[in-house]
Subunit: 196 residues, 2 copies
């Protein structure tokens, strides 16, 4: 057959990663086979290995791509001179936008990271923990400054992150409200629920 079609200076490897994210999201990492991936890419399974080292490389590329973006976002938010509530709102909006526009990748990173192999697994978990701590610290700061209700910050982080990852169902649903509307609803409930 012909070669893998690329577009806009993305490499063939990028194409494979993109399709892998879609497949892993749909079937789950373990249930998705390299032969299936090959088929959606339009090539034989063995040919994939001219571009990637292994199936698990695909997973860790996807996961760390997302993790890196989150870290950069956190750096940015922390450096801003805004109120805690504004910071939280910015984080939540960023996460929602990620869920809406980079859905497959974010979803896979969220749900399938446990199939990472060492040392990537430990590394990923550490980043995840660190990132949640930073989020919790912002909330605690807001509580100290009396902008935010007195609640357990760890629980609040947990609620917000998981509520957002629930946008998955929104993707599945037929009677979709639009993305912007979804975002405003979530801000109302999540951020509104914190405000003192």
């Amino acid at each position: 057959m012909g070669r893998i079609k690329t577009e806009n200076n993305s490499s063939r490897k990028d194409v494979i990663i993109k399709k892998a994210a879609e497949l892993f999201k749909e079937k789950g990492f373990k249930a998705a086979s390299m032969r299936e991936l090959a088929e959606v890419v339009g090539v034989e399974a063995a040919s994939l290995y001219n571009h990637i080292r292994s199936k698990s490389e695909l997973l860790h590329l996807i996961c760390f791509n997302v993790a890196n973006r989150y870290n950069l976002m956190m750096d940015e938010v922390e450096s801003e001179k805004t109120t805690s509530l504004q910071k939280i709102e910015k984080i939540v909006r960023f996460l929602i936008a990620g869920m809406v526009h980079n859905f497959e990748e974010v979803y896979v990173s969220d749900r399938e990271w446990k199939y990472l192999t060492e040392p990537y697994l430990s590394n990923f978990q550490a980043q995840r923990r660190a990132y949640r701590k930073r989020f919790a610290a912002i909330i605690e700061d807001g509580i100290k400054k009396k902008e935010i209700k007195k609640i357990d910050s760890t629980t609040a982080v947990l609620i917000m992150l998981h509520a957002i990852s629930g946008i998955e169902s929104w993707h599945r649903s037929k009677e979709k409200i639009n993305g912007k509307e979804l975002e405003e609803n979530m801000i109302t409930i999540l951020v509104g629920g914190l405000r003192k």
Copy 2:
């Protein structure tokens, strides 16, 4: 080897289902093998088939067990003469309690249902949809009666259900706050975020 040990008039099949839920939760349905399950049950893989029909039977037993409990709970809540907010609080408390006390089973039903086979898959999805609709209807009722902020009820349901399923992370975490405290925190944020 010896036989599967049962206790308190639970059948050997029940023991297998329980262990299967633990294993499916830990490894994911696809990644968990019957040989692994056999090992934790303390028996050879082939012996499991004296008690169950197939691996996928295990999954659908787990999923429908949870689904049935949810439906019963919904029936009960709907029949009560309480305010919408009280109904919502009751649902949320029920769900949190389920997450805390029947963790493995609920987790599997939440995350692994997509590996159900037909006709169970369609049936399960239908029940899930119905159950969410009922939940949303309660919220809409509360909005109509001005107990609840004017928000999109579907989004609110989505947020609450996923926030609760995030208790998974609470199970993993070391510095666990206690279950009751977690529950109160979640009620504050989730139900508090709805109140007008």
